[in-house]
Amino acid sequence: MLHFEDFHEGRVFPLGPRTVSAEEIIEFAREFDPQPMHLSEKAGKASILGGLAASGWHTSALQMRMIVDSYIGNSTCQGAPGVDVMDWKKPVLAGDTLSGKGLVLEARPLKSRPGIGLVRMRTELENQRGETVCVAEQVIMFAMRAKGEDAA
């Protein structure tokens, strides 16, 4: 189980790979972002995105899932106060395979809540062509080890 103390500056967590299907792009878009380029290949091709493309909010959601599968799912995560930067640099197109990494930029104890620390992460995802599609900087809260608890 990863605690706050395990997120030292410079530590890298691998993310993915995760292939994104046309069906899931359309399913997400129907519920949250029903714009033509997220709903059909034809409309996507006609747009500046160049094909059926995931909503940026879908890309961010997939990034979250890859983070949960990589390190948050086995951690003392207590939620997140926010995201300073999210750049959707390239469209995520149907059939793309995303992979990437989460890098610990900074870790510090939270003064207002003893036993909880803030970890600032930089997250980068790229597609199968090696193009960066998404870069984010976000802060995540983790509980610290109780005194006397063994290191993971």
């Binding site: 997400f28 519920e31 949250f32 972002d33 029903p34 714009q35 380029m37 747009s47 500046i48 995105l49 493309a53 909503s55 940026g56 909010w57 961010s60 959601a61 997939l62 979250m64 899932r65 949960v68 948050i72 799912g73 995560c77 207590q78 939620g79 997140a80 106060p81 926010g82 995201v83 300073d84 930067v85 999210m86 750049d87 959707w88 640099k89 469209p91 809540r113 909880i116 809260m141």
Partner: protein, 155 residues
């Protein structure tokens, strides 16, 4: 027409209200954010949040959903008046996103957009970059979500 002609800079526009049902919170979390406090009301009690609450990404997606629902009502109305609705393009991302309070099951979030700046791209005349401040407020008047984003406008 450009977005700035429809919504002058500085005008807060409420786009709609979305209720976060427990089943929707769990359905979203199962796909994208499977953490105990987004999936299981009982387990959530032992976390800082104290009760089942939506993934922050779900609250963001709700903002997009209500923006488009708002446009779906507005744009035909403009067309009826003989006005050409703004042609909006993709967004390059967002900044300074804050999840200020949890969104609990049953909460009703009212979303808004405020245009804060609009400028023509030097590299692409006729294309405008709009900056917006976006918020979500719960039924108690507490702001739960705030972020700054931008969207292209092909005038």
């Amino acid at each position: 027409m450009r977005l700035a002609e429809l919504y002058p800079v500085g005008t807060r526009v409420e786009t709609g209200t979305l209720e976060f049902l427990a089943e929707d919170i769990i359905r979203y979390a199962e796909k994208f954010d499977p953490q105990p406090f987004h999936m299981d009301a009982e387990a959530a009690k032992s976390y800082v949040f104290g009760a089942l609450c939506a993934s922050g990404w779900h609250t963001c997606a709700g903002w997009m959903k209500m923006l488009l629902a708002h446009f779906a009502d507005e744009f035909p109305r403009l067309a009826q008046q003989g006005l050409q609705p703004p042609k909006l393009g993709p967004s390059p991302g967002f900044r300074k996103l804050q999840w200020l309070r949890p969104v609990y099951a049953g909460d009703r979030i009212t979303y808004s957009v405020t245009l804060t700046d609009t400028r023509e791209l030097a590299s692409r005349p006729g294309t405008w970059l709009n900056s917006t401040l976006n918020e979500g407020v719960n039924q108690n008047g507490e702001t739960v979500l705030r972020f700054e984003s931008s969207v292209l406008d092909f005038a």
